[in-house]
Symmetry: C2
Subunit: 692 residues, 2 copies
Amino acid sequence: MITKYCFGTPFETEAVAMKLNSTTVTSSDLTKEDSKDVFSFPISIKSDHNFFLEYDMAKDDIVYGLGEANRGINKRGYQYISYCTDDPNHTENKFSLYGAHNFIIIDGDQCFGLFFDYPGKLTFDIGYSSYSKLRVVAEEANLYLYVISGASSYDIIKQFREMIGESYLPPLWAFGYQQSRWGYKTASDIRTVADEYQKHGIGLDAIYMDIDYMEQYKDFTVDEEKFPNFTEFVAEMKNRNIHLVPIIDAGVKIEDGYSVYEEGVANNYFCKREDGTDFIAGVWPGDTHFPDFFKKDAREWFGNKYQTLLEKGIDGFWNDMNEPAIFYSKEGLDEAYEEVKKMENKELYLSNIFHLKYLMDSLQNKEDDHKRFYHDVEGKKVRHDKVHNLYGYYMTRAAGEAFHNLNESKRILLFSRSSYIGMHRYGGIWTGDNHSWWSHLLLNIKMMPSLNMCGFLYSGADLGGFGGDVTRDLMLRWLAFGIFTPLMRNHSAIGTRNQECYEFESAEEFKHLIGIRYRLIPYLYSEFVKAVKKNDMLFRPLAFDYPNDPLSRHIEDQLMLGEGLMIAPVYTQNATGRYIYLPEDMLYLKFTKDSDFSMEVLTKGHHYIEVDLSEVPLFVKQNHILPLAKEAENTATLDRKNFTILCYLTKEASYEFYEDDGITLPANGTTNILTIDCPNAAQIVNSEFQFA
Amino acid sequence: MITKYCFGTPFETEAVAMKLNSTTVTSSDLTKEDSKDVFSFPISIKSDHNFFLEYDMAKDDIVYGLGEANRGINKRGYQYISYCTDDPNHTENKFSLYGAHNFIIIDGDQCFGLFFDYPGKLTFDIGYSSYSKLRVVAEEANLYLYVISGASSYDIIKQFREMIGESYLPPLWAFGYQQSRWGYKTASDIRTVADEYQKHGIGLDAIYMDIDYMEQYKDFTVDEEKFPNFTEFVAEMKNRNIHLVPIIDAGVKIEDGYSVYEEGVANNYFCKREDGTDFIAGVWPGDTHFPDFFKKDAREWFGNKYQTLLEKGIDGFWNDMNEPAIFYSKEGLDEAYEEVKKMENKELYLSNIFHLKYLMDSLQNKEDDHKRFYHDVEGKKVRHDKVHNLYGYYMTRAAGEAFHNLNESKRILLFSRSSYIGMHRYGGIWTGDNHSWWSHLLLNIKMMPSLNMCGFLYSGADLGGFGGDVTRDLMLRWLAFGIFTPLMRNHSAIGTRNQECYEFESAEEFKHLIGIRYRLIPYLYSEFVKAVKKNDMLFRPLAFDYPNDPLSRHIEDQLMLGEGLMIAPVYTQNATGRYIYLPEDMLYLKFTKDSDFSMEVLTKGHHYIEVDLSEVPLFVKQNHILPLAKEAENTATLDRKNFTILCYLTKEASYEFYEDDGITLPANGTTNILTIDCPNAAQIVNSEFQFA
């Protein structure tokens, strides 16, 4: 059951798709004694100028949720600040990442979900200041609070997901392996990537175009020197079954004669300063204006701009820098420079040298800058910081709405760096600029179920790590996890070691790993579409499937995947294997280097498994079926009719297999039920099967 | 067997204590074919202008060593640069930390050790560029290479340790729990710490005095306003069995009238620029000069300065900022400021804004600055960068030599931030400015055996983490490991959350943990002194004790401790236990919250153990004895005669127990052999014992 409470005058974020009546809560309802009665659960709220919620957590309570956030599946023991932030250096002490997903579930004797629909800065202190206290604090007491009760966390999540609306569905090809790098500058660079992948027989469905494809980083332009005859180039690649995916940045370059800039200025489509002038932010193109995606007409205008690329044959995009990231503001720069000048004739003491450093360092993503520009929300001026977390959502919504209007029956790949709940209906996310760190591989693993809880099904991390130099072993281990994430993209930053699969010794080991991905795609796609339609999760904590198993409750490095699988990636350098816990007897499938696999039944309990580099362990729940396709070099040539059926059978098993053409909306494909009868004795099934 | 090779004209670092003749190797000895024969092992060396060593590692080779370095016990798969660096933000991608310990052991079918006695920058590429290649590169081919062969890595390490000389031995009280914080400013602050610890009954042997005790950060001064009657204060604390440990920084403040500065200038004790003027570096006091610890008379002079504090009753020091850390050099500052001024009237484009940021960021610990000053080595001018890694060593040696000359029979606590092999004879190290990160707890665990390999026995990390805000659970888990490290110090930075044990909820859980430390001190001390005398390791990888057990080879999160123990700390947030591997049946001792412990025998193999916060798991090898003392509030009142003897006995067991007065040098205490006879059947022994 969901109850919606209204505090003050909330901003209508459109995070929630379902229409629900709300109960208005005033501060007089919230004397400390009363407040606990108001919400069905013993949460105490103070709502005056600020909003302050407190809940006494029991020792063993787990707190799930928060989507794209730091640390573990269990968010207990740290602080998280919902404030979309461009922080590529997200070590474990950081409070904010690229998205803001304000949904948590308290899982213990009391079990309930809380969604704070509040687009400004929101702090979740989940046992950080005091281990037993959950505290959620907002500067302004203007928000909707949704309290969700249910039989379990999993049940609560499904209710929440139903409430926020169906998740975005990408085309089938977006489940193929994808290669990206900030550093591909020309058509020739991209052709080389395609050639090398195909030469090595390594599967590939898409190559990304980072900022260098544009003319001076101007949105919706293509540099004709670097990409002559772009339309032909897109077609050439598509003939090779490779999709090109260009980046779109939030900031629009200020340049006379550049139509996007000129139209934006002429029609008041850009964010404005308090005095009504267009706000200037420095990003990749230098000085830019930010489109005001809060204005319906600006959103339509910007969304329709994507058509300039759709017309050239493009069918996928990634929206970047939309927290929005700001390298500097005009005001911030002037202030800093004034201070620098003041020091000119002074002796430089330690403290002012530190101050100088601070001035320069703090130019970038300075929160003060968020108070320097405004959005026009149906004629009302709203200061950016108060709705900061919606900016990336609304940018992506602009594109999603335009795609729908242009051709409602075709799926376009779309994902974003910044996000807020609600955006999951329009696109996916990647988890931003990570590092070539083993700890970021582990973070990637732990983040997937949390993202699913908040509606983000199409997601994944920059495999191998964006910043820094990846090592071959990290790349292999990361890919061995990445083969399970819907978005499987290898992406890296300019200046770092090249990390395309063919850049490493023994590329055949990479080919083999990506081959496994293609063998799994029919299953992953089937499970993905079902999860979209049923508001279900693709990645789940073990405890969701085994609620009565106490050991499952604390496992964070194994995940349930779709209805029948469990994964247990290796994420430690120089490890030759790892420990796993099986909540029941399972079929242990190990994909070996020779593109074959071994199978054995492992019993419920703890095991140590040996997993060599480029091997992949996978577990199939008993009486669940994994349909495994043949290897393919892309989704276009993937055989989705003929499968090897793998199952550990102790009684009857069935699998609901969904398929469609992979491109049409709505997704009304066919569902085949595959059934295996009850055996005489427990057995491993390994048989060929052809779907009609 | 150790063979010493000489390349070019090496700098005489005095890392090695043993006199060995060397074989001179010239580049003509090193044609690619020949070089492999020269060194008994198939290493190939090119030694021309540069030095380049290469070795083909087998797939399963492990590389041990490098002391204070990033990542795992097995250094395979990454790059490490020996170049002492002040980097508090040492994420897993960093190449250099505070120390430079150029000893590695290749452990595989071929097993040998390599020590590169080279005080400049040295790069170890251990399968980073190519997984199978070990490459060691120095800019200049002037060095001693020691090649050590032996029966095993452990054997090679013992030979190496014998060669570099006996490790530093601190006083017994330095094994007590110690509290530090950058932020204790006055005698009253320190008295509060002492009061709170004693009020809560939490054991404590020392409180540290960070930079604020000095007058304007001037070495060997005590601010009389903050510390009136300092000598009396030291005595007051010592009466409470608490030792005060002041910090000494490398840089000497430039200030007329300050005797250390004036003496240094008058006698040419400071590092000089090429033109002969004293080099100026900005550190905590602002502009400073660096003592030239490479000059014998300057070293004597600086070492004797410690007496100003010894005379006041001080008996312990920590040497800091001696990489040396440099916030700015006069030259660097001028250059940066010139560039800033040049931009004044220009429009600021993105690239020059990034350049401005870079200018400011790169002021600190700029490698260029290391080329701006010189050492006087017996009359010869040596540019700092060429001998950079010796600076911290020689500073600490200055103190150690002075202590020896002042009173050769008394142990003084001494440890350093920066170090080079050789310094281990004069003092210990702490592992520098870490963070309140779970990953730094794990790094601490993995680093201990590597440090021991290189002679650094008295060492430990800043428990709880120096930078950032610790959470209660991290503090508890870190202390639960810290109770095993010889240096057990809780230290944190100004501006972070207070992390003294009494600052947290339920201080009794902290009291209980530190109580376990005191119960272990007689064993730890006994093992420590034996390790010093026998050139042995206190912390060992499991494989060293179980060379025939293949699973032990890859375990990095369990350590052998002293002759009979194995530890397995929990280092994951929200974990309620962990996996462990036992290479043989062992006694599993779990210290529980109630200051009691449980005991059971666990069989060889894999286990999952439940370990609640503030519980401590400990394993005793069969037929080995753990003598456990009673809890005490400091080492002065610790009963080192009466023990509880714990053992899992299947045949005869004996323990060699060393004790002495804890303060006299040389350490010629008594060794008692405690023996338990062969039992009729396997049994757990839990009996009281009194040493004579």
